[in-house]
């Protein structure tokens, strides 16, 4: 059992009894990848830390020192929690904090000595792919199979190459075999977003980065952890663990609190979500004709499922589900703000129309899942009837 330092400091003892440590799951919300409602403990930590840690933590005066102390306590907490999850010994000075995944990735890449090439696959997040261009090194494209597994065999011929990849794909849920990379003895920068908080973290990474929203933390905190066994070193001085212009200290306190309070629930939530998604897939495939699934059905994140419903517009599907009180995401091109089909689905050669990206928040119950399936079945038959099918 790890010491609950943040928990004690920021969550009022009187209210602890009524708290579960789990972020809430608003009814009908199935877009955990897009963010989760903060747990009561996390909200309290955020509010209290906002009152104490508003000054610049780099300042020498006592207001600044107070903010710096809270930031430092949070790094210790994150180190302990991540050590437990990843089964590794991390200390506070191996934890760094960035405001965005892109700034975290670009900064982390600069810390690998002797790198002359970067290898990544086409199904990484667009932010990660974009970050790989920044150092200006030659790039190697790793191929992916139809289920979204990155083929590591091309790494056999490469030396001094940094491998950049997601531990699991956040759109389709496929979990990569990190151990496959280790045989090549290449450094690996792993984005563990949607893994930390939901699934066991495999070993085999040199530097790990993760958006704190992955475990129910607030937006605007990306945590970087350096594996003590790697020869990575921070590329710029970061005495407070800050990357670039720094991070809101109160958000960091809240992120650390969210992970501490979630820890005792992770294993149970993982098993529940895995079964829920199995149930979702089974019901969708039997109750809807012409539905196709993307991603590995077994070696996957517990809470993510991706399917495409033929002969239905993704935009109509998502809007109609929203009207019925169900929030889901979609990788279809016709969804308002992208106008381009999901680059992940395209790389897999998967069907991009009528796409649904469903990700279960913590605390999701079987009833919630069943009402979502009922709504999808009704909506699909309505939309197909309107199209004369």
């Amino acid at each position: 059992m790890i010491p609950r330092s943040i928990f004690v400091q920021f969550v009022h003892p009187d209210s602890v009894g009524s708290m579960t440590g789990l972020p809430g799951a608003p009814r009908g919300y199935f877009d955990a990848v897009g963010g989760m409602e903060l747990a009561a403990e996390t909200v309290q930590a955020l509010n209290r830390a906002s009152l104490l840690a508003w000054a610049d933590p780099a300042r020498v005066h006592h207001f600044g020192s107070q903010a710096a102390l809270l930031a430092s306590t949070s790094r210790s907490s994150l180190a302990r929690s991540l050590s437990e999850i990843a089964d590794i010994e991390l200390s506070a000075d191996q934890i760094y904090l960035a405001a965005t995944p892109s700034s975290a990735a670009v900064w982390a890449m600069e810390g690998f000595p002797g790198i002359t090439r970067i290898a990544h696959s086409p199904i990484e997040t667009l932010a990660l792919i974009d970050s790989c261009q920044k150092p200006g090194l030659p790039l190697t494209a790793l191929s992916v199979d139809g289920l979204g597994h990155v083929d590591m065999s091309a790494l056999a011929d490469l030396a001094d190459t940094l491998v950049v990849l997601q531990a699991a794909n956040i759109e389709i849920g496929t979990v990569q075999n990190l151990a496959d990379i280790n045989t090549f003895e290449l450094p690996v920068l792993v984005d563990a977003t949607q893994v930390i908080g939901h699934a066991p973290m495999p070993s085999g990474w040199s530097v790990l980065m993760v958006n704190a929203q992955s475990w129910g933390g607030p937006a605007g905190v990306t945590v970087i952890a350096a594996n003590p066994g790697s020869d990575w070193a921070p590329p710029t001085l970061a005495p407070l663990g800050w990357v670039g212009d720094g991070v809101n200290v109160a958000s960091v306190v809240a992120a650390a609190t969210a992970l501490e309070t979630l820890l005792p629930h992770i294993t149970e939530q993982q098993a529940l979500a895995y079964d829920h998604v199995e149930h979702l897939r089974s019901r969708l495939s039997t109750e809807i004709s012409d539905v196709t699934f993307a991603g590995d059905p077994v070696q996957r994140l517990p809470h993510i499922i991706n399917c495409s419903v033929l002969y239905v517009s993704g935009e109509a599907l998502v809007s109609e589900l929203d009207r019925r009180g169900f929030a889901v995401a979609s990788g279809s091109a016709c969804i308002a703000d992208s106008d381009r089909a999901s680059h992940v689905l395209v790389a897999l050669g998967a069907f991009t129309g009528g796409n649904l990206r469903i990700s279960l928040p913590f605390g999701c119950m079987r009833d919630d899942v069943d009402s979502l399936v009922d709504a999808i079945v009704t909506t699909v038959s309505q939309l197909r009837a309107e199209a004369g099918l």
Binding site: D290, T292, L310, Y311, V312, S313, G314, S332, A333, C334, R340, A341, L345, V346, G349, A350, F351, T352, G353, G354, A387, L389
Partner: protein, 86 residues
């Protein structure tokens, strides 16, 4: 290679071009599917470039190629073959 049938779905957004293709396949099956049939779909929705080949893989049709529309107009022609097993 000239398609036996052109379906002009330009100006229509996804999933309409794919629905048209599925209807053509159903009609071909209803007619007995005695001979293979080459069908061209004209579409200008960018999703068609991914979804027509993906639909072919799912529905046992063969995606042949992309061509310039025969009227040299906008959009792309997607040529698909329904293969007869007879």
């Amino acid at each position: 290679m000239t398609p036996d049938l052109w379906l002009d779905e330009r100006g229509r957004r996804c999933p309409i071009p794919v629905i048209a293709l599925a209807r053509a396949q159903t009609q071909w099956a209803n007619e007995g599917a005695a001979h293979s049939r080459l069908v061209g779909v004209l579409a200008d929705d960018p999703a068609a470039q991914y979804d027509i080949p993906a639909w072919c893989r799912l529905k046992g049709a063969e995606f042949i190629c992309e061509v310039t529309p025969p009227d040299a107009g906008l959009g792309t022609g997607y040529v698909v073959r329904f293969n007869s097993e007879k």
